[in-house]
Symmetry: C2
Subunit: 214 residues, 2 copies
Amino acid sequence: MEEKIIDLITKTVMKELSSKESGGIPIGVSARHIHISRKDLDTLFGEDYQLKKKKELMGGQFASAEMVTIVGTKLKAIENVRILGPIRSKTQVEVARTDAIKLGINPPVRESGDLKASAPIAIVGPKGVVYLEEGCIIANRHIHMSPKDAFRFGVRDQEIVTVEIVGKRGGTFDDVQVRVDESFTLEMHLDTDEANGMGIISGDHVVLKKKMKA
Amino acid sequence: MEEKIIDLITKTVMKELSSKESGGIPIGVSARHIHISRKDLDTLFGEDYQLKKKKELMGGQFASAEMVTIVGTKLKAIENVRILGPIRSKTQVEVARTDAIKLGINPPVRESGDLKASAPIAIVGPKGVVYLEEGCIIANRHIHMSPKDAFRFGVRDQEIVTVEIVGKRGGTFDDVQVRVDESFTLEMHLDTDEANGMGIISGDHVVLKKKMKA
């Protein structure tokens, strides 16, 4: 019993220490979503279609009002997958592993934009369909931050770090990529599997740990 | 680049060290499933219905051939949820957080059998339906082991430990409950969110770490 109390106190203190005020990093959980090219948006929603902004996101991105259905190579579908704006040079579908299993596909864990030999996927919109030979990935764990934040944490762009998650179902995530850019607001992006498996939600905080050298 | 090579070597060695031969603990990933009472099996499949054994599991349990549909309080459904045998004194539905979000319910993270004030759920079978006022949980992370294994690892029943996951998407899980019984085969049980978020599958191995005292 005493051990349980010590454990509870430790966790309460750790939770406080991991808050934003104490230098913690806020979590943004990314549900499955799509980034779309001008050409593919034309195909799916009609020529010169403009995405409707539903919610502002970090770094000038936004959740649009538009949703599509994605279909894997075994013809399994997931409906209501949201498009994020603004449009990009290439269309990219980001799913969690749980989604991939449902779709019957095997996408690699990748940094956004690294689509070479990624999984094939079909996208169905109200005005047409797009088949991507490659374009579906599981996003890698990453933290967006400004150069000022990078200096504060003592990390650099592309560095791989570990973060600690405090909670009733806590632990650590290794293999977390740091991305530094003037336009970035401090935020760690996890997919739904990662967040749900660790019992955390958007707005919770994690603590950055420098990677131990071997 | 040199850092990447060191990292790769470290992980390869760690992966080897975490194998069964080196004292690693095999993972069993639990997809959403149901344990069923005699009374509820009668309702869902007909009086005196006998579950058909499809696959043997640890400790005398088995995956049955029978599946049901579960429906949450917002009337969202998940189909093809497998029943595990043999029958138990109480019906219990175990889902991952991702499933719970889909179902629109909020089950607590609990040890199997601890159903007090857990989430309500409806179960639909070919011959009838069952509505549980409480009975749906998210299973806590746990490791089954024999007293001999417990001695070897230096842990006791109900102890909370940490495990390390080595991989491209690795990390650690805290808050892992140890369960010791003569009938248990050494196996760590994770749900699909936890396994998918850490990039591991059934048959992979993890390394047990004694919990650090505060």
